[in-house]
Every structure is written in C-alpha cells, then in structure tokens.
C-alpha cells in the first residue's frame, strides 16, 4: 500500500473486531430497567466508547457486554449502572495497549 494512501476508515464494529476479547457467558454490566424507563438522557447509549448499550424496539436497554473495553465511563456517567470486573482472564485483552 502506498504511504500516501489515506488511512482506511473503519466503523466502530470493524475496529472492535480488531480487539482481542475472551468472552464470558454472563454480563459484568447491569442496568436498572425501572430507572432506565424514567431516564431522559440515557447517556449510556452514546457515552460508551464501544457503544455497548443500545435501545431495542420496546425502548429497553440491550447490553452487548462482549465488546466492553472496561474503561468504566458508563459507571461515572450513570449512577444506576452496576459495574463488576469480568471473571479473571475474561474480557478485553490488549495486544498493544
């Protein structure tokens, strides 16, 4: 590839595909559905660098914890998200960092 070629633009899911994860079968992140119903901002939807939180058709929060980069931003942005460390050895495993 030419050194003058622009950097190929990748979507977030393409970029997450480059990251090594060891995926657990259980989520280490939990929302409180009662509080979510009352929440107007729903900052979890946009504040997460990996966009782990999404809304389904019924306006429920769906958590794709498998792509969590474990920064903890959602826990600071929202006072009701329950954040637990994934099981030992599971979750994100950076090759560069």
């Amino acid at each position: 590839m030419s050194i003058l070629q622009p950097l190929e633009q990748k979507t977030l899911s393409e970029k997450l595909f480059l990251v090594r994860f060891k995926t657990d079968t259980e989520s280490h992140l939990k929302v409180n559905p009662e509080k979510c119903k009352e929440c107007k901002d729903k900052s979890c939807i946009y504040i997460c660098p990996a966009e782990v939180y999404k809304l389904d058709e019924k306006e429920n929060i769906i958590i794709s914890y498998e792509g969590c980069l474990e920064c903890g931003t959602c826990r600071i942005a929202c006072e009701f998200i329950e954040w637990m460390n994934p099981k030992g050895g599971y979750g994100v495993c950076y090759r560069y960092g």
Partner: protein, 432 residues
C-alpha cells in the same frame, strides 16, 4: 491459610513498583492481576516519564520494551480547517537518560516490568479478580479473590486497582467520582512503517515526537487530541471530561473519527492501518478532593489514588510508580514497629507531600476546573485568531494596510481584547 507479608491488587506500574521494592527487602509479596497477563488491561496515551523507574532499574531502556524517546514536542491549536502550531526539538534529549521520556505500549511494557518483580521473588496471580477486602476488627487483613479458597491474608494490602476504583470506593475511602472529575480517552494504534514515521516526523532512529492538539481537535471542548510516535506505529487518540461529552451528547468514537479526519491530522496518518482500539478513564479528581489514601492495613496507590498531573505535562505512570515505592517504603518502616494501623502508615502521606507528587497535584490539580470556566479558550478564540491570521495571509489586490485592517476589525468585533489577554494570562498560569 495463605498469608503473605503484603498483598498487592493490580499489576500496573504502581503495584509492580511497590512489589519490586518490597521483595528486594526480602518480604513475601503476592500480586493479584485480573488480566490474562500484566498489561493486558492497561492503557495510557503513550508517554512514560521514567525518573522513578530509572532509580528502580537503572538504564532500564537497554532491556525494557520501549518504543522511542521523546526529543520533539509539537503543540497545535486547530479550528475546523486551519492550524497554528509551535514545535520544539531538543538535541540534548537524544542522550541517556533521554530526558526520562519514552513512548511505550503498555501490553508489552507492563508485562516486562511485572516480570522484573516476579524474577525478584514476587508471586503474581494472573486471571484473578479481587472482589473485596477481608477485615479483622476493622483492619484490612487480606483480600477475597474470586476463586476456590480465595481468601488470602497479609499484614498489609496495597490497592493498585486503577482508575475504575471499585474496591477503594467499597472500602469507603473514596466517593464515586463525578463526571467532571474523569476524562474518557479513546485511542487507536495505527501501524505505519518505521522509515515512513521517521521521514514524516523528521526523526532519527529511536527518536520520537509527542504532538498535542487542542480546540477543533475535540470540537472545541476542554480536552485534547494526541499523536505519539512508537517504533512502527502511532498512538492516536482524544480525551475529554465525561461531563463535557454528556453536555454535548458526544460519542467518544465519533470524536476520535472527527479528530482523525481533520485535514492536518489526516495527512499525518496516511499509509496507516488501524491495529487496535482502546479506551480508558483518566482521574482528574482535583487536589482538594483526593481520596483518603490510607486506612488500617491498607494503602491506595496509582490511578485509584488520583495521582495524575492533568497539565501539559500529562504525568500519570511516573506518579503511580512513585506512589508505589512510597507505599512500599512506608510498609518497610511500619514493620519495624509492627504497626500497620492508619497511624502507623502516616509516613506514606508525608512521603507524598514532600515529593513532586503532591506539590504538582496542588499546583495543577485544579487545571480542569479553571479551564472549564473559560470555554471560549477552546472554541471562540482559536476560530477568531486563525480567521484573523488567514486574513493577514490571504493574498489579494487590496493594499496590505487595508487587508490588515479588515482582518483586525473582523477579530475585534468578535473578541474583547481585554478578556482575551486576561484569559491568556489565567490559562498560562493554570497550565504551565
């Protein structure tokens, strides 16, 4: 019952610096790391300051996995389509100890550093999460690891769990940080051939450059974008307070993509290939709102303690290592009297206060707060100044005097000169 002289939670720079210091004095030390290997969950922008490390392991750069030493710095303010920048280069930094500034990749560097502690006698349990402390009459006397027979006891526990400080908060030493006290940074590793990096940034072999971008780099929010040169890759990222991103409904990944596609940045990334995406919180708690750093049988070190200098120096890992060494030295002193109570561990606070750590935190701790009082610094000013300068340089058939007058009038209609000078003074005082 498993018992060690000291248990350390987290094999990052703070935890490993503490472990290394303790095992060298013959103590039994267990380090618990939740990642597959030390470094696998660790991240920073990219520049390690190494004054503490160079004392722990003299001339570490000869064996450690370091990328490049920083001899050049470039600070740049962007508007939507323009840039003003200042660049510094110091040939003196090209010689040992290389100004104690190196780009490193943490997955490699932290693994090497932890190996040094292991070689010296520390026991490192990887893939092991710590969920809580064990208390004996109110004193921390061990930890609860998430595994069979996971209770491990120790005279004293060092908590080096990092910025997402679940345990420190659970122990009541720290309130959950507020959105304006935490920065979220996202970063990509972009591979580019070694000779292209050296040609593009005008570097000789092993020489490196740190580039910081403000203003339009992060859509006029407080915060910045950065490019740091590694051997054959660039660390490229953005970081802003969570509060600012909330106010603007900003997706961190969109912010990163917008930085990467700025005309100035885009050209620097040509021929590159994204290899990894990563994200981390950076604590900017403020000097007056630092956590309680000691309790009976417990010391808090590194990011969990909020040891980050948020000014242009951007110092975190060096402070983390200093806090780790200071905690270890305090433990060694406390062993003399056998008193690991909060009172017996007071020396830790004293050591921090007498060092650059607390001096710098006091000096720079309120930088984010002060800057947030001047949002115009990152938005209105860069745009207005760059527009004025562009006016000065735009060649037309008008006489130059007329050109200057138009550019100047356009500027002062939008900006109060007094306010600008005052803000510049305040900003300089806060940041430098």
């Amino acid at each position: 019952m498993e018992k060690f002289d000291c248990v350390i939670i987290g094999a990052g720079p703070a935890g490993v610096a503490a472990a290394l210091t303790l095992v060298r004095k013959g103590l039994t030390v267990a380090v618990f790391e939740r990642g597959e290997y030390p470094g696998s969950k660790n991240l920073f922008g990219g520049v390690l300051y190494s004054t503490v490390l160079n004392k722990l392991i003299p001339e570490f750069w000869k064996e450690a996995s370091v990328e490049r030493h920083i001899t050049k710095r470039r600070y740049s303010i962007l508007s939507k389509n323009s840039e003003m920048a200042v660049e510094f280069g110091f040939e003196d930094f090209n010689h040992p100890p290389f100004n104690n500034s190196f780009t490193v990749l943490r997955a490699k560097f932290d693994r090497w550093f932890a190996q040094k502690a292991e070689d010296a006698g520390a026991v490192i349990f990887t893939e092991t999460v710590v969920d809580d402390f064990i208390y004996d009459k109110g004193k921390v006397s061990g930890i609860k690891a998430r595994r069979e027979g996971g209770d491990v006891y120790a005279d004293v526990v060092v908590c080096a769990e990092g910025a997402n400080s679940l345990l420190t908060e659970k122990a009541g030493l720290k309130k959950k940080p507020l959105p304006h006290q935490m920065i979220t940074a996202v970063k990509e590793i972009i591979s580019i051939p070694k000779d292209v990096i050296e040609d593009r940034f005008n570097l000789s072999d092993n020489e490196g450059m740190a580039l910081e971008f403000f203003g339009g780099a992060v859509k006029g929010m407080i915060g910045s974008g950065f490019i740091y040169t590694n051997k054959d890759s660039l660390s490229v990222g953005v970081g802003c307070p969570i509060s600012a991103m909330k106010e603007n409904n900003m997706k961190p990944n969109d912010l990163l993509e917008s930085f990467k596609s700025h005309p100035v940045v885009k050209k620097l990334l040509r021929g590159g290939k994204t290899e990894e995406l990563s994200a981390k919180m950076i604590p900017e708690l403020g000097y007056k709102t630092l956590p309680k750093l000691i309790a009976d049988g417990l010391l808090i070190v590194g990011d969990a303690g909020g040891f980050v200098n948020p000014s242009l120096y951007r110092e975190g890992t060096n402070m983390a290592m200093y806090s780790g060494v200071a905690a270890a030295e305090t433990i060694l002193e406390a062993r003399q009297s056998g008193d690991f109570s909060e009172k017996g561990l007071q020396g830790y606070i004293k050591k921090l206060e007498e060092s650059f750590v607390m001096e710098d935190l006091e000096r720079y701790g309120d930088v984010p707060e002060k800057l947030s009082e001047m949002p115009q610094l990152f938005k209105e000013y860069p745009d207005a100044i760059l527009k004025m300068v562009q006016g000065y340089f735009t060649i037309s058939d008008l006489p130059k005097d007329e050109l200057h007058r138009q550019a100047w009038n356009g500027f002062k209609d939008n900006i109060s000169m007094w306010k600008l000078l005052l803000d510049m003074y305040k900003a300089r005082k806060a940041v430098l």
